[in-house]
Symmetry: C2
Subunit: 679 residues, 2 copies
């Protein structure tokens, strides 16, 4: 138990001020939760000491510019303890968290949502709350730092140089995603990642003994981490400081500091119980805690000396940034090429005319699987977008998601832009969220078989919610993958993501549409994109276009005369647009007037004007047939109650792709027959 | 390198026969993959020795009755190595895998799908392939054994007494789910779980050094496992045997045996490369392997002495089962009550009239959140269904998913029927799959917030695919959960599961519908059910019924006269059925003829006759409004192109439930206004 033992009167006063500051953080949390009678006071009360030491004594930031590039990053993976972070941002002088925001905790329209949200509160780096996501995001932030530092630092210019700190709890530790991400963090040697583990032995269900009896420290050692212990996280300030110092001194491994704390520290009757995890203390216990910790102040009060102590961060932060800016100006002179690239990563500005780099295709171009076309486009983008970085979860060659111009990002080769995630889809997803939110110009891509989005869905949802531009290269997107069978064949996945807010699902049919999909994915900086790609070879289709993809849905062919309406509309996406097109030809041979429509992105089509949508799908034409090798769920939106959706509403099977298409009736004949029933 | 060193001529002959048997397994895999030019030969070639030792020398099974209750369970978590399992089942005399099935590997209609599927191939316990799922399922199987043994064994009657073996690979080890499930296996002290880790250092992307450099053995020790190493898994038969023996002798911990193997062992040019993982060897290399291993036989050949050696399992298995049956007959006499219960768990037969145990409700019954009503129903079911067992992922009190009549299942209290999963949703899901597939009468339930189905979706999909009756108690099912904000508020989740094959989504509105949902979930033995339940209090509604739930959609009120059609149909589910009902009353006050329909389960409604569906939703009534606090995606199926869907097509927010319903327009007023636009 190494409490602070001051060596002089001024040291004693300083130590006292620390305690006061820590209690300020505790009572801001208590008061905010009490005020709205909703929230989680226990974690901030226990973690206030480490929070204080980190923010006040170690971290580098500029409160008046929360987006200053070279700031240290902080992630509160135990996101329910949001009031710890809000209290710290408030003390540090961030404009995003004023006292009225603290009073509006978890309420409509406030900047202090229940769990930290990067898009609501400047100063919050990533969105956390679902347990373990923050661990992955923090690994992503640290990876971005290591990678950018390796690419852009020069012996005399450390332009990229910051730490990534995180606080995580028992809940995060239990989640598999944190083991995945932590294994990679050690593998990659992310020495500037420092995790403080709030080891309080309490979960929602009660004592961790109920379900969590492993040796966490030993597990992290096995993963390759540097592990430290702070025996007294409640008031062992020197111990906390020393641990962080030692952590910083170890540069080849990430560090886990196990900090023993008491949840709800200070509450005489509720500390060390799960009752203090997710409920207000109640007025009586809040008062008892005030007595117990000797806190004579009214609610939401920040004592003047605490205020004064923290106020230095505003000037210090401004100085840090301006020194960095001055240094960058020199760097720009000496290394103009590197500086321009780094600047584009910092600002996120796309090079003018970048999209000209995308390959173009004609109906005469060779047929290819869209995963191969994706590979061509991905590499074209890489040539003009220095911030493109990513990889696959142990399926690199199958997903074709790698940059030919670059090597692997590894511990000793951190300039590489290809990431090897191993079979860790969920970790991959969360890591990419961290990369995307590190700098506006970083564009992470992540790849696996489309069906395995199920493993990383929680991280994809966080990308959508937190407006992170992640590009998901999801190949093997239907029964078209063939023999691998139903465990590997997606069926419901397109529908499941079309239902998710703020994410684009793009299912290109050929080269032009794949180029269009990449254009959309790169240009939509405020949302992630899923590219749903075929394993099997597809022809280049007449009528497809990059521009069409931008509108989400468009006519690729129509033999009705000007001013006439077609008798039937056939719709398809991806690998089945060819089937729709061929069915259209069949029907036209029989004299039918047929329109064929590509519905490559339902979200983009939904965002078009009413007039455009009516132009593509005229209401009066109710004879409509869709074809897609996936669940028909949702297609009623376009075919209506009178149309027909050709699709697969069962699990797949082991067989060749050809056989499966035939057995499941995803065929030209089936589309023609359905159309004839209707017109 | 402890190779078998035979001590006598007969021992030498026996050792030779083992090698011959192992090579038979290797060449069955090589030949089957070669025959269809598709599959994964490398893993079976490397794991044939441990597979042989396990099945031929240790495991207890009856090939002619793959469902004999007291058999040892085997799980091939590295499911791509399916040919290892098919080869073993073939040699052991299972009728499910004849030589023609081996020849039809991965082909339409055969019993040998790409990855092992319990519902296709008797002898396969659980469906694997998506990495790590098998680890969780194996933990579930071992948990079921420990639990049932504790409840039903008597000092003189070990009626439940088997091991659970599994083989897992590097891919499984990297997945977070396997860490979650393995942590629980040690916590629960599942001493009869023995995992053989195919430690071959090769993944699809190449050497494990690319992405996987942790110390797996040490990690498992940290989790609380007993860890052993077999240095020579390629032909160290005695070493393998000894390790399994030692593993069986340790009864308080699960054992991980790290078995060093060479992927593609025997192939002179492809062994120890990722090229042999997922591709046929090719005729030339197959022949070179025949030369190398001294295999003079034609394809698919099982030498007579190997055949003869394995044939004893048929008689031995029959004897094992009949001895157990005789013992059970004695047990039945001495312990008739326990025997009857255990029998019901073995057969899965529901007690006659079991559903009478479900509580009944009237409109006068007190209003309650459906999570509370779920708690009442769950406990009522527990009283009549001895196989009901389950729990929550660290949200027990919130989900209200616990049995009041029982304690916790823990290492030292294995009779408990309440499982504490900790914050490990994915592990929970896979473990429940194993429990469900252990015995037809085991009905596992698993609970979390609905939004966190994202964490366990891959396991839920395996439940649906493998026809496992798991009951998912998913509470906090909309913005109605209030202040916890968008990370905790499901939006797209109902739609995402409605699109998934072979799973029932049930969103009950009150007591009667909750009882109906439990009746459906229990009686649908061939598919899982998701119960989508509210955090917030709801009234008991007139017109709801258990029978109505069984039909998925039904009229709860209608003021149009007999023979007349209503002017408008209002539809709702769960917490919003009340809104639809109140909107109906408002409109009726204004003289409208309004029908209100509960669409509690789209899947069940979809399975009704055309006539019934037309009766509930007459085609000619196109004025239709739906209301549900979730994505409107998919509602076009019922409201058509002319109707209106009131819902939420964005992420939620932090605020009280009342405020959110108002801000997002999920209100009686909004439904009334939409209806008036239409009629």
């Amino acid at each position: 138990m190494a409490k602070t033992t001051p060596s002089s009167p001024s040291a004693a006063a300083a130590a006292e001020l620390v305690v006061k500051s820590v209690n300020t953080i505790r009572f801001l949390a208590i008061d905010a939760v009490e005020n709205v009678k909703s929230g989680h006071p226990g974690m901030p009360m226990g973690c206030a000491p480490m929070g204080h030491v980190l923010f006040d004594e170690f971290m580098k930031f500029n409160p008046k510019n929360p987006y200053w590039f070279n700031r240290d990053r902080f992630v509160l993976s135990a996101g329910h303890g949001a009031m710890l972070l809000y209290g710290l941002l408030h003390l540090a002088g961030y404009d995003s968290v004023k006292v009225e925001d603290l009073k509006g905790l978890r309420q409509w329209g406030s900047k202090t949502p229940a769990h930290p949200e990067n898009f609501e509160t400047p100063g919050v780096e990533v969105t956390t709350g679902p347990l373990g996501q923050g661990v992955g995001s923090a690994v992503g932030l640290a990876l971005a730092e290591k990678h950018l530092g390796a690419r852009y630092n020069k012996p005399d210019f450390e332009m990229v140089d910051h730490y990534t700190y995180m606080i995580l709890g028992d809940g995060c530790q239990m989640e598999g995603i944190s083991n995945e991400a932590s294994s990679l963090a050690a593998h990659w040697g992310l020495g500037k990642l420092i995790a403080l583990y709030d080891d309080n032995h309490i979960t929602i269900d009660g004592d961790t003994d109920l379900a969590f009896t492993e040796d966490v420290g030993k597990r992290f050692e096995a993963l390759g981490w540097h592990v430290l212990t702070v025996a007294n996280g409640n008031d062992g300030y020197d111990e906390i400081r020393e641990a962080i110092k030692v952590a910083k001194s170890v540069t080849d491994k990430p560090t886990l500091i196990k900090v023993a704390t008491t949840i709800g520290f200070g509450s005489p009757n509720k500390a060390n119980t799960y009752g203090v995890h997710g409920n207000a203390l109640g007025p009586k216990e809040a008062e008892a805690t005030r007595q117990n910790l000797g806190w004579p102040y009214e609610t939401f009060h920040v004592p003047d000396d605490v205020k004064k102590h923290w106020s230095r961060h505003i000037s210090e932060g401004a100085e840090l940034e301006s020194a960095w800016n001055a240094k960058f100006a020199e760097y720009e002179k000496k290394y103009p090429k590197e500086a321009a690239e780094l600047k584009s990563i910092i600002t996120g500005e796309l090079p003018l005319g970048w999209e000209k780099a995308l390959p173009t295709y004609t109906p005469e171009s060779p047929g290819n699987p869209t995963r191969t076309l994706s590979h061509q486009n991905l590499n074209a983008v890489a040539a003009v977008l220095p911030g493109l970085i990513g990889g696959s979860a142990d399926l690199t060659a199958s997903n074709m998601a790698f940059l030919k111009s670059s090597g692997d990002f590894q511990k000793e080769t951190p300039t590489g832009r290809n990431l090897k995630f191993g079979a860790r889809e969920h970790g991959m997803g969360a890591i990419c969220n961290g990369v995307a939110l590190h700098s506006p110009g970083l564009v992470p891509f992540s790849a696996t078989y489309f069906v395995f989005t199920d493993y990383m869905r929680a991280a994809i949802r966080i990308a959508a919610l937190s407006k992170a531009r992640v590009v998901y290269i999801m190949t093997h997107d239907s029964i078209g993958l063939g023999e691998d069978g139903p465990t590997h064949q997606p069926v419901e996945h397109l529908a499941s993501f079309r239902a998710m807010p703020n994410i684009l699902v793009l299912r290109p049919a050929d080269g032009n549409e794949t180029a269009g999909a990449y254009k959309v994915a790169v240009e939509n900086a405020g949302r992630p994109s899923i590219l749903s790609l075929s394993r099997q070879k597809l022809p280049q289709l007449p009528g497809t276009s990059v521009e069409g993809v931008g509108r989400g849905g468009y006519v690729i062919s129509d033999n009705s005369k000007d001013g006439e309406k077609p008798e039937v509309i056939l719709m398809g996406t991806g690998s089945e647009l060819e089937i729709a097109a061929r069915a259209g030809e069949e029907l036209r041979k029989e004299g039918k007037k047929v329109r064929v429509v590509s519905l490559v992105s339902w979200e983009l089509f939904g965002e078009q004007s009413k007039e455009y949508k009516e132009m593509v799908l005229p209401s009066e034409v109710t004879a409509r047939v869709s074809v897609e090798a996936g669940s028909t769920f949702g297609w009623e939106r376009f075919v209506g109650l009178k149309g027909r959706a050709v699709g697969i509403d069962r699990f797949g099977a082991s067989a060749s792709a050809e056989r499966l298409y035939k057995e499941f009736g995803i065929t030209v004949e089936a589309v023609v027959a359905a159309a004839k029933e209707l017109c």
